[in-house]
Symmetry: C2
Subunit: 147 residues, 2 copies
């Protein structure tokens, strides 16, 4: 409701936005060639604990349904997911990960984790703790952003 904030909060907001920008850049660089793209990996990770409907996938990824459909169809073509009509509601489609999909996720995560772990090695013990402490906060901010 209020349009004004504690100035320190506004300063922090500015710094946080700058960190987000750097994060976007880093996230992009983490895409190795000839592997899953970031978008594909995110989608596959999302359904690795059980199939979901297209709409749920889109909502969880924070994208629109047609964008999710597009990714899903591509993943289906290369055999990483299956699409089946939801038995309870034939309007809906259940998207499930295949064995090949699971393997691809594991491989991609390992590769990317190794890249990031290498970067984290350059940090002091204290910096690592500071980073670790902030990750749940970022997650919380995101949740409140989802509305």
């Amino acid at each position: 409701m209020s349009d004004t904030f504690d100035p320190r909060l506004t300063d922090l907001a500015q710094e946080f936005r700058e960190a987000l920008r750097l994060g976007v850049y880093m996230f992009r660089r983490l895409d190795p060639e000839g592997d899953l793209t970031a978008a594909q990996l995110s989608l596959l990770s999302m359904i690795s604990d059980g199939g979901l409907r297209v709409g749920d996938i889109a909502k969880n990824l924070g994208i629109k349904v047609p964008s999710a459909t597009e990714q899903i169809i591509k993943l289906e073509r290369v055999g990483l997911v299956t699409r089946q009509p939801d038995p309870d509601d034939s309007r809906a489609v259940q998207v499930a990960i295949t064995q090949a999909g699971t393997a691809a996720v594991e491989y991609a995560n390992q590769r990317r984790n190794a890249m990031v772990a290498e970067l984290l090695q350059g940090l002091s013990k204290q910096e690592i703790e500071q980073l670790a402490a902030a990750l749940p906060v970022i997650s919380k901010i995101n949740s409140s952003f989802q509305k």
Copy 2:
């Protein structure tokens, strides 16, 4: 050189990557309609303290020179930056922000900061401190990633 890391570092890497993903999502949502795009704002902010050459802008943004040129030309068309040959090196082009550009940056930052500050209001004092402490760490990680 080594391909294996402290497993805790790998776990942290996984969590950090997940936070980056959320950050990408948030960053995208912060783009208000009818305003500067995130890419435009980043570029303009970069030159708001003084003109830079196209190559420097690209390097600082972590993008390739042709991508920077493209953005710069668009910004020039709407009067937010000027392009002038570098007096010391006529191969190079100095890109400078205009008054309209400065105003646009200010407006865009205020809007986005207000959006983020609103989110940050939902955090506890401790969470705010944890977030603030981690931002320089993220910046450091990014620097080491630049190579």
